[in-house]
């Protein structure tokens, strides 16, 4: 021991030998976020106290963010959904870095949505930027080339001071990182609600494409294979980010651990993408894992436990940005843009040559063993000796108490249908202008114009279309469409229905573009799991999503849970963001969202009911949230999707009805295209315009025999209503009002620039 004595300023190295010989030493397990029983369990697993390095690993890997300890019991029901999409079995499902599904013609797609909420509140730019970075590495770890990103975002009120701090930084971070990677940002959401003040949500979705034969699963098999760490050097950024930031509620004074946010380097990530794909193409990778939350602790333990043996790591071989880092810090560091690969000895030279070509630093830091242990040395001394599975997968599982909140009945009884309504044509017009200019419904160009939606040259649809659509094959024109949605207000009123409504909307948005919905990824954003009210919302949302996926026959391929999104007693609206991916055989035949020409017939598909509770009208006009959300009708959604697929090439445009109802859909069709419309509404014009009944879409058709269209709709059991025709420079509701498209557009586009500059 004497010849490798540590520098005097550092505490003595806590090796396995020291831990065995000094069993009673006090350890800072509580500061690292571990509970008493969790610490006891670690000692039981090891038969001794952990070394400080082992303690670091267990604490980050058993944190809420990494272990899903509060959510696991509810998430496992997604595994009950058959891992089969409407066109075939999943190629990789839940449990991998990201799910992979077959889209035909030998192509597969990997997609996943993840959260980076807490870091984005602390440091908006870097938090959002590294959120993109993390999800992109998940996709390249599957062997897929990333082809698009999307960002569902949630902010506090548009006029709140903190929104003006958080929003520009988050948007610049999403753009700054994604633009520099060369990934088109093809959509997403920006929703404002007071519960997100102090708890902004930054969810990031990435889609990647690969050939079936190029699928790579993360594992470390084969004794003697070498473990290579490549990409950025390891620094002191993000240390403890997982345990300290993502698993603790912010108290009213705000977070105290600022340095725990990581700093992104998108240029390095771009090199990492190209380098990794070239490594795959050269067949020099046996196993691979990205480094995200919990850094090396996660990558080493997950890779080793997914393989068939053990792993021996020489931690002092890790290239460092800061040579003073301790082994504990190196294990916990969340420095970005790093990957770990398992490589057969014969391929190491070729591997390192490809890294050198891309100016990516790489170091052999260990080898695969058959000991069944994860052993980590620091300058020849053993600092970690653990069964890897206990770190990666055998963390604590909590059956948190949950109960229907005692305020839920009163909330549901307070229906928006009872609120005062506009009655005259002039009042309806004023309501429409107020709604199109409201933060949730207004034009989002201020945000999306900061994102490159064109790079790679395959973007067929992007914001403000219902879904984003990407061409996958330039010869065959095979493509994919993706949409993300969630109305947290509906989820607050009824979390079971709310999750299903999120799925319904995303499913519908993929269908209106002409694609067939295939699979789901979800990002479940909720408050503190230690609050039984929140835990009930979470449990109900999971149950609702599972039931709806079973009903629609589409699997959940993976996703992410973000808990503790609350400040003090106030939890965010339950926000189960659902992403749906669909396939389209020929992107040239996609259906656009906005009106295409004057003189076309406008047809409403679906059933309209009086459903105003939770609507944007109730929110904007009355500041009201109460009642029951619109009725879920999954049969109707599926019928509508099938009809829309049959209408490809017949409908010149198709736009879903959701937030803001028919009024918003017609207004958007006109505002985006500059083409007006004249419509006649049956029954109560206010209800027809502003109710938010689901399973509906507006289509336009040209030169179509209406009786044939009626027969086609009848065949799919979808009611249709003729509304009127496109044309002119105003939106005219016969007998009620007319409003110039230019006036609508002015109101719609003015809101974000006026608030944000």
């Amino acid at each position: 021991m004497a010849d490798s004595a540590p520098a005097p300023s550092r505490p003595a190295l806590d090796t396995v030998a020291v831990a065995t010989g000094d069993p009673e030493r006090e350890q800072p397990w509580a500061d690292l976020g571990l509970k008493t029983d969790e610490y006891d369990r670690i000692k039981e697993i090891l038969g001794r106290r952990p070394t400080s390095s082992e303690l670091a690993m267990y604490s980050v890997m058993w944190s809420e963010h990494c272990s899903y300890k509060s959510s696991k019991v509810h998430l496992k029901q997604f595994g009950e959904i058959p891992q089969v999409t409407p066109i075939g079995p999943m190629l990789a499902g839940i449990g991998e870095n990201a799910g992979v599904l077959d889209i035909g013609q030998g192509y597969a797609v990997s997609f996943k949505v993840e959260s980076h909420n807490h870091p984005s509140y602390v440091e908006p730019y870097q938090g959002a930027a590294t959120g993109i970075g993390g999800i992109v590495r998940d996709i390249i770890a599957m062997g897929a080339r990333p082809v698009a990103v999307m960002d569902p975002l949630r902010f506090g009120p548009l006029d709140a001071d903190d929104t003006h701090r958080v929003l520009p930084g988050i948007v610049a971070g999403v753009g700054g990182y994604g633009n520099c990677l060369g990934l088109p940002n093809i959509g997403g959401e920006a929703v404002f609600d007071e519960t997100y003040l102090g708890n902004p949500l930054v969810n990031a979705l990435c889609v990647g494409v690969l050939r079936h034969e190029d699928l790579h699963l993360a594992n470390a098999t084969g004794k003697g294979n070498l473990v290579i760490l490549y990409g950025a050097r390891t620094g002191g950024d993000g240390i403890g980010g997982v345990s300290v930031l993502a698993s603790e509620t912010f108290d009213a004074d705000g977070p105290a651990k600022r340095p725990a946010v990581q700093v992104g380097d998108p240029f390095m990530e771009k090199l990492l993408i190209e380098c990794t794909l070239e490594l795959f193409a050269a067949h020099v990778v046996a196993g691979i894992q990205d480094l995200g939350g919990a850094g090396l602790s996660c990558a080493t333990s997950e890779l080793a436990s997914a393989g068939d043996g053990g792993m021996h790591v020489h931690l002092d071989k890790v290239p460092l940005r800061d040579s003073t880092l301790s082994p504990e810090e190196i294990l916990m560091s969340e420095s970005q843009e790093r990957m770990m690969a398992v490589v057969e000895p014969a391929n190491v030279d070729a591997f390192l040559a490809i890294c050198a070509k891309w100016d990516v630093e790489a170091a052999v830091i260990g080898e695969v063993t058959d000991t069944g242990r994860l052993e980590i040395d620091w300058h020849g001394q053993r600092v970690v000796d653990v069964p890897p599975g206990t770190v990666a997968h055998e963390g604590p599982v909590y059956n948190r108490p949950f109960a229907r909140p005692d305020w839920q009945d009163a909330l549901q009884a307070d229906k928006a249908e009872a609120l005062a309504r506009p009655t005259t044509g002039e009042e309806l017009k004023a309501t429409l202008l107020q709604l199109v200019a409201s933060p949730n419904l207004c034009d989002k160009s201020w945000i999306t114009d900061q994102y490159d939606r064109y790079v790679q040259g395959n973007t067929v649809l992007a914001q403000p279309s219902d879904s984003g659509m990407i061409r996958v094959d330039e010869e065959s024109n095979l493509g994919v469409a993706v949409a993300t949605d969630c109305n947290g207000r509906f989820a607050k009123l009824d979390p079971y229905a709310g999750a299903q409504l999120a799925l319904s909307e995303a499913y519908r948005n993929v269908a209106t573009g002409g694609a067939m919905p295939l699979a789901v990824s979800d990002c479940l954003n909720f408050g503190s799991p230690e609050d039984p009210d929140v835990m009930w919302q979470f449990a109900e949302a999971c149950r609702g999503l599972k039931d709806a996926c079973l009903e629609l026959g589409i699997p959940v391929t993976g996703g992410n849970v973000s808990l503790y999104n609350q400040t003090g007693e106030t939890a965010i609206l339950p926000t189960p963001v659902v992403a749906v991916l669909g396939v389209i055989d020929d992107v040239r035949r996609r259906t656009p969202s906005s009106f295409q020409a004057a003189g076309e017939q406008i047809v409403l598909l679906g059933t309209t009911r009086e459903e105003l509770s939770g609507s944007e009208w109730a929110n904007v006009v009355h500041g009201h949230l109460g009642g029951l959300p619109p009725q879920v009708d999954l049969d109707a959604e599926r019928n509508l999707a099938r009809l829309l697929k049959d209408l490809v090439g017949v409908a010149t445009s198709a736009h879903d009805l959701s937030d803001g109802g028919l009024a918003q859909t017609l207004a958007e069709g006109a505002m985006v295209s500059g083409i007006g419309a004249t419509v006649t509404l049956e029954g109560d014009a206010f209800v027809a315009l502003f109710t938010e009944s689901v399973a509906r879409a507006v289509i336009t058709v040209e030169d179509v025999d209406i009786e044939e269209l009626r027969a086609l709709c009848a065949r799919h059991d979808v009611p249709m209503t003729e509304l009127g025709t496109t044309g002119g420079d105003a939106l005219v509701v016969e007998g009620q009002f007319d409003v110039a498209v230019a006036d609508l557009r002015d109101a719609w586009t003015a809101t974000l620039p006026a608030a944000l500059g």
Partner: protein, 222 residues
């Protein structure tokens, strides 16, 4: 014609530029920044992107890439060179074009379909357009504000070296609304907007960018 498209570390629109070259009826040849070898191409495109992350001045590092030694030499002999966005920045850093490109005046990245007027159709990259033709193509940049000292600006304008100008609005604060520029000889063109994103009806902003890739066929520059 064989048109080389250089990939620097951090180039993003290289694949798009190659596709546009092919759609324009020419042969696209991939060139690597580290190889001082132009593979016998007849023209070169420096594509858009964030070479070396743009962490230093945009284009300041790429300008020293081995391939640039060859590009600069050939450009001085009259070979057609087109720099798009980051490529335009590299051309300025290489002193093949005058002036410089700085951070947008509003300090945000901007991506929009931008209206331009072709001011000079006598270059090998713009001959397919009519003089004064208005085109709408994709613009996307964070550092696209063209600046030059007053004397340089007067010379550029006086010599007709402005190739394209922004119409309707100036998206980045460029002096004199300058979107694109050529050198005195007229063979090197730098353009801040992205014609390679306007070559297919299906993707991008229409077909208005195609002329930059068909001009080469329509005139020959031996």
């Amino acid at each position: 014609m064989k048109v080389g498209v250089v990939t620097f570390p951090g180039s993003l629109d290289d694949v798009d530029a190659q596709r546009a070259v092919r759609i324009g009826g020419n042969e696209a040849v991939a060139l690597w920044h580290g190889d001082a070898d132009l593979k016998g191409v007849d023209a070169v495109i420096l594509p858009g992107g964030f070479s070396y992350g743009d962490y230093l001045r945009c284009g300041a590092i790429s300008r020293f890439a081995p391939v640039m030694t060859e590009v600069i030499a050939k450009a001085q002999q009259g070979m057609p060179v087109l720099g798009i966005c980051n490529g335009f920045q590299i051309l300025c850093e290489s002193h093949l074009l005058p002036g410089a490109l700085i951070r947008n005046h509003h300090r945000k990245f901007v991506c929009r379909d931008q209206l331009l007027r072709i001011e000079n159709n006598r270059t090998p990259w713009t001959s397919a357009y009519d003089q004064g033709q208005e085109i709408r193509i994709v613009l996307k940049n964070g550092e696209g504000g063209f600046v030059a000292d007053a004397a340089t600006l007067a010379r550029i304008e006086g010599e007709g070296q402005v190739v394209a100008r922004y119409l309707e609005m100036n998206p980045n604060g460029s002096l004199n609304d300058i979107a694109g520029l050529t050198n005195e000889r007229g063979n090197v063109v730098g353009l801040m907007p992205h014609p390679e994103h306007a070559v297919e009806e299906l993707t991008g902003s229409g077909l208005d960018g195609l002329g930059f890739f068909t001009s080469l066929v329509e005139r020959s520059f031996a």
